[in-house]
């Protein structure tokens, strides 16, 4: 069994970190994992994306052209990756910044207002964690417990309320995905 997701958005949205946290959760579950970044031109700006593969045996190709899951954090990412989602796969859309959906009928689409949720919790920079919560909750690619314990481990060392704040936005994401009324099934 091999599962994949591509997180895509602006540079600075924390896309890469979200992927890394997910991969760590996969590892915590004893799975094989692989995190593959896009590393664009040697300069600032533009879109960034990463793909995470979690599998129960050695991972062959790190290149996944038709990922099972895609999370588009901004419009250019939606345009680029929505057509690639594998038939039957899942497309998550950051509805705070994207006001359209993919015309595809053969995939599931879930809208998550990442920026709005993060802003509501006065943690505007954590849209990636909101997204991670929503993605894990919806895809089950790793267990929520594994993901939470990774967050504890990674943010526990940070000073101040970082851990609490992070868990808060994570759970907001989880709830959004679980209680999502706007989900569109293909």
């Amino acid at each position: 069994m091999q599962r994949e997701v591509t997180f895509a958005g602006f540079g600075g949205q924390g896309i890469m970190t979200a992927g890394k946290l997910l991969a760590l959760a996969g590892m915590a579950e004893g799975k094989e994992v692989c995190w593959i970044p896009s590393y664009g031109p040697e300069m600032r700006g533009g879109t960034a994306y990463c793909t995470v593969v979690v599998a129960d045996r050695l991972i062959g190709s790190p290149i996944v052209n038709d990922p099972e899951n895609v999370f588009a954090f901004n419009r250019p990412s939606l345009d680029k990756f929505a057509p690639r989602v594998r038939t039957g796969g899942l497309l998550l859309i950051n509805s705070s910044l994207i006001d359209v959906r993919s015309p595809r009928q053969d995939i599931s689409q879930v809208l998550v207002p990442c920026n709005d949720l993060a802003n509501q919790l006065k943690n505007g920079r954590s849209i990636n964690i909101v997204g991670l919560g929503a993605f894990v909750a919806r895809s089950g690619m790793v267990s929520l417990e594994a993901q939470r314990s990774v967050l504890h481990k990674e943010f526990g060392k940070k000073k101040g309320d970082v851990l609490t704040a992070t868990l808060e936005v994570f759970e907001a994401g989880v709830r959004a995905a679980q209680g999502d009324k706007e989900a569109v099934r293909g």
Partner: protein
């Protein structure tokens, strides 16, 4: 009422392209000054620019004149090649501090020393921008970069190289000046210097070199306005601005 007169607009020598530079990065200002100069002196159609490797590598997409892209640090060698075979054209290199003051040290010194009749615009932003913020030869003492995470230690990495001052020690006649573009007051001076540099070239007088202090908000980890302030507070006192050498001075002191 008469039609309005546009008193500030994009120069013709700057293409109408959206640049890839980060918000507030002063590479854009320097581009504009060069382009304005080419327009004002009527040089655009006989100019060949040489792009470096660095954030400004893509300047070949922005300058509206013939352009070449050099290997990292080698722009002065390419420019030498071009100017020697086309002595009546205008040639300039546009180079960052990693490009010019690190890997390309030999090339710039020898082009200047041979007195190649081209112009160098040297963008000193105290860091390697394109590769994501490593230490440059011009990184300030104690400045943190990804390859000096504890700040530049002058005991092991040395002091920032004052390139314009070093080049000015060569005996071959040249025009060498250091300027900045972080506020309009400085930008006006920078414009004058860049114009002067191309003017000397157009007159076939000498090699000309303008070092421009520039910001890199992204890799300095600062907002554009904070960057302007840092440049003023930290870089300007160290990298003394002003004319370092003029072709009117005799070659040997």
């Amino acid at each position: 009422m008469s039609a309005p007169t546009t008193i500030f607009r994009r120069p013709e020598a700057l293409r109408d392209a959206f640049t890839h530079y980060c918000p507030g990065c002063t590479h854009g200002i320097i581009h504009r000054l060069v382009a304005e100069t080419l327009d004002e002196l009527g040089l655009r159609e006989r100019t060949i620019g040489i792009a470096p490797v660095g954030c400004s590598v893509l300047c070949y997409n922005y300058f509206n004149c013939d352009m070449q892209e050099a290997a990292h640090g080698r722009a002065p060698a390419l420019a030498t090649g071009v100017k020697r075979v086309l002595p009546d054209r205008i040639v300039f290199t546009y180079q960052g501090d990693g490009d010019l003051a690190s890997i390309g040290t030999a090339e710039i010194i020898h082009a200047a020393n041979r007195g190649e009749k081209f112009t160098t615009i040297f963008v000193n932003n105290a860091i390697y921008g394109m590769t994501g913020g490593q230490m440059a030869p011009t990184t300030m003492p104690n400045q943190v970069t990804t390859t000096c995470p504890r700040g530049r230690d002058v005991n092991t990495a040395g002091w920032p190289i004052p390139v314009a001052d070093v080049l000015a020690q060569l005996r071959t006649p040249a025009y060498i000046e250091r300027v900045a573009v972080h506020t309009p007051r400085y930008t006006v001076q920078a414009k004058r210097a860049i114009r002067q540099a191309f003017q000397y070239q157009a007159e076939n007088r000498c090699y000309s070199f303008v070092e421009v202090l520039s910001t890199c908000p992204t890799n300095w980890g600062k907002t554009p306005n904070e960057s302007v302030q840092w440049l003023e507070d930290v870089m300007v006192p160290y990298f003394k601005l002003g004319l370092k050498k003029s072709p009117d001075r005799p070659p040997v002191e």
